[in-house]
Symmetry: C2
Subunit: 222 residues, 2 copies
């Protein structure tokens, strides 16, 4: 059986759990805590980041991008980078945007200050960094609103891995109770659609030691 | 003619200049200074990052990953993500590793403190951050040494975009005179091979306002 090394609140891990479920590719999960720098895990994935997937033939696939491109090439039944070559570029652009830009500006600073610092016991959370990340969220959500207002799905007419990448980031922010939809009605309606997909259920029951999500987190009528 | 919006010391921009030259795809360059947040440019690429390529049919391609996957699909004459599906995964893994991990740990903090801060005139360079980045370089170079010792090219038997991604990061560090090969003979020999390729010549004549690279920078017998 395929084994996905993941951390529940890593957005890239969530992206791959959603992606594999949508493609109906079976896997079991193994918890990996990235900041513990587990030596055995570092041999699988020298970057130390999650996720890593060990395929049935023992092929080691490191990182969300590698895993997605691998299965897009192998399993053509349901493409999650769909369309012509320029439409695929738009899917990949938005995966990058959420996985790099949005994660760097919003998700990581919140995650680091609200959750990771509790576990590593290193420093106090920085309220300045949290404020900055929430400010960035208010800049980035209008872009998601624009995308969902003008398109059926985030990257165009087809449901794609870009929707999963976006929803993965937002779900982690929502777990920390930092997601406020303000006036973003289209983005909110889009998120409600994603949240009600069967693939999303596994994320809604995630537990993190000592930390509870807000009540609305696993409510489909949030 | 294709237009590549780039910044000379952005490793992702260098990766694409090398990539297009290796594939014999013609392009002209347009200078984009990422921290100036040019409004016209932000309409092309909402992330504000470089590179962005405008193809001949006006398709807009944002970011190194998107550009590479686009041309890998369109131009099959010379593949720079070569091999079977698992070999391609190794190329993609290493592109990610250099573009994300190595850039985050080494290239960006050096670039930000040695170059960008001069132009934005914001804060003094942090010698602590520079020391940390150089320390990270001493951790990451042995990995490159291991790769080049055990393989013909960085990702395996074939020359690939992973070699270009690695060389792009190193060339920016070398421009800042922060590259010391210590005892890394195999990595150094690999870098000398890449540096002597015709595609690399354009990088060696790059000029950045007011900043000169060290004498050995454009020397093929460094």
């Amino acid at each position: 059986m395929r084994v996905l090394h993941h951390y529940p609140l890593s957005p890239s891990s969530r992206l791959i759990r959603l992606y594999l479920s949508e493609k109906k590719i079976d896997f079991v999960t193994k918890l990996e805590v990235p900041w513990e720098r587990n030596e055995t895990y570092l041999k699988l994935n020298p970057s130390g980041d999650v996720p890593t997937l060990i395929d049935e033939d023992n092929t080691i696939l490191c990182g969300a991008n590698v895993i997605i491109e691998y299965f897009e090439e192998l399993e053509n039944n349901l493409s999650l980078i769909p369309g012509k070559v320029y439409e695929k570029s738009e899917v990949r652009r938005l995966i990058d945007w959420f996985e790099r830009k949005f994660y760097h500006d919003v998700t990581f600073p919140l995650l680091n200050n609200r959750i990771i610092k509790r576990f590593v016991g290193e420093k106090n959370p920085s309220s300045e960094i949290i404020r900055g990340a929430l400010q960035n969220l208010k800049i980035h959500l209008p872009y998601l609103e624009w995308l969902t207002e003008n398109r059926k799905w985030v990257a165009g007419n087809e449901f794609s891995a870009a929707d999963l990448a976006a929803a993965s980031q937002l779900s982690v922010i929502d777990f920390m109770n930092d997601l406020n939809w303000f006036d973003y009605g289209e983005a909110r309606a889009w998120y409600a659609k994603i949240k009600s997909r069967p693939s999303f259920r596994q994320l809604l029951s995630d537990e993190v030691e000592g930390i509870s999500p807000p009540v609305h987190y696993n409510n489909l009528d949030f």
